[in-house]
């Protein structure tokens, strides 16, 4: 039986790496500047992330050691959360410059999720894969394995066939790291290319892992495409029930890929009524 990775995502903050930094690692590397910056950075935890007093701590860290990647990353995260792509880009690029293995994956998913820079995200994931010989890991909030996120980026670029290939490969290669929404997105990609039977299979798999209004909505949509109005009615009803009980995709920062709203359900019901 497959082990399904369950990750609670809605309350995970983007930046939390300062919680327990092991500063001694820099001493072992005889890098006293990074050690001092690391020790100083612990004070950042005393403040709300946007607080200028906390920002002053980060400024001090970078004055001590400009190449301390963690402080650059944390600085960038504050700008990221305010949607400031210029500030974020400056600091995340510095973090990647000084510690590519740790920060390329984080830059990738933030580029995609916050700024719809899917090409930039794919390039970062490929760069990461080319420099490490271990599993490339997960996106910044743990929602997706980076292999799945790369597939999702291709889907967002409307390259559904590539997305399907990558998703299928990911489901085999990373069978113990199947995410909470992987089958949903794969199903939507199949739907987009007109393979409704494969799409319905995926939505059924999604139902077993994490049953949401979304997989039932898209399942209904696929049934409507093959003119099975009985199954359409069944699954759109379930979608309606689930969305009313808030059993749907949700993220604290942004609207997710393939997330639906009540108006989507109402619109497709009207469409179905017009077809009948």
């Amino acid at each position: 039986m497959k082990v399904i990775l369950t990750i609670i995502i809605s309350i995970v903050l983007v930046g939390s790496i300062f919680s327990q930094p092991n500063c001694n690692i820099y001493l072992w590397q005889s890098d006293t500047l990074q050690y001092k910056a690391c020790k100083h950075s612990i004070k950042f935890n005393d403040y709300y992330q946007f607080d200028m007093k906390g920002i002053a701590v980060l400024d001090s860290c970078l004055a001590i050691c400009p190449y301390y990647a963690d402080a650059n990353y944390e600085y960038g995260v504050v700008y990221l959360k305010a949607g400031n792509f210029i500030g974020w880009n400056k600091y995340i690029n510095a973090a990647v410059k000084y510690d590519a293995a740790n920060y390329l994956g984080l830059r990738a998913s933030c580029r995609g999720k916050f700024f719809a820079d899917y090409t930039g995200a794919i390039n970062d994931i490929d760069s990461l894969a080319s420099i490490v010989n271990y599993d490339i890991g997960f996106v910044h909030d743990g929602t997706y394995h980076l292999d799945a996120y790369k597939a999702l980026c291709y889907k967002a670029l409307n390259k559904n066939i590539i997305a399907i290939e990558l998703f299928e490969k990911h489901l085999i290669k990373n069978s113990e790291f199947i995410g909470l929404f992987d089958y949903l997105h794969l199903g939507v990609a199949y739907h987009n290319i007109g393979n409704y039977s494969k799409a319905i299979d995926c939505f059924s798999n999604q139902e077993k892992i994490n049953n949401l209004a979304e997989n039932n909505y898209y399942k209904a949509k696929s049934y409507l495409k093959i003119a099975d109005t009985i199954e359409f009615d069944k699954y759109i009803h379930i979608a309606n029930e689930l969305i009313n009980s808030k059993q749907k995709m949700i993220d604290g920062y942004h609207i997710m890929e393939d997330e639906i709203f009540m108006s989507d359900i109402q619109n497709i019901k009207e469409l179905a009524d017009n077809i009948r």
Binding site: A82, G83, F85, Y253
Partner: protein, 144 residues
């Protein structure tokens, strides 16, 4: 400045009668107060508002990102709108005013912002932003 990215009142840009209900020091970030965007009609309303109001025309050199950041007060009213622009590589860029002015005007005309509740149980004032990904003069994605 109290918090990074605070938007202070500017008499040449902002309404003098825009009320911050809980004090300038208590304006929160949208994501600190529950769900992400809370507006009547949800994201589909925002998308259709800009689709209907933005006169897309091919403008090959007009690609990049625009952020409009603003405050939603405790009554769901908005003000303190500020604009940030970049090219698609996050570098410096000034969009054709026809684009940036329209995006700003449409952002200001969004209605139905919902109240978000703070930890004291009262309607909060909060910072919200919209990011527009624009390629060749057309809005291809609105975030968050």
């Amino acid at each position: 400045m109290r918090w990074l990215e605070d938007i202070r009142y500017n008499k040449s840009l902002d309404k003098s009668d825009f009320k911050i209900c809980n004090g300038e020091e208590n304006v929160k970030q949208y994501f600190n107060l529950g769900d992400n965007i809370e507006i009547e009609g949800d994201k589909p309303y925002i998308n259709s508002h800009f689709t209907n109001g933005f006169n897309s025309e091919k403008m090959p050199k007009e690609s990049g990102l625009i952020r409009i950041r603003f405050i939603v007060n405790c009554e769901g009213q908005t003000d303190r709108f500020r604009l940030l622009e970049s090219d698609l590589q996050y570098g410096s860029k000034k969009f054709n005013r026809k684009i940036s002015d329209t995006v700003m005007a449409l952002s200001k005309s969004l209605t139905g912002w919902k109240q978000k509740i703070n930890s004291e149980g009262n309607p909060a004032d909060y910072y919200q932003y919209l990011v527009f990904r624009i390629v060749n003069g057309e809005i291809i994605k609105i975030l968050p």
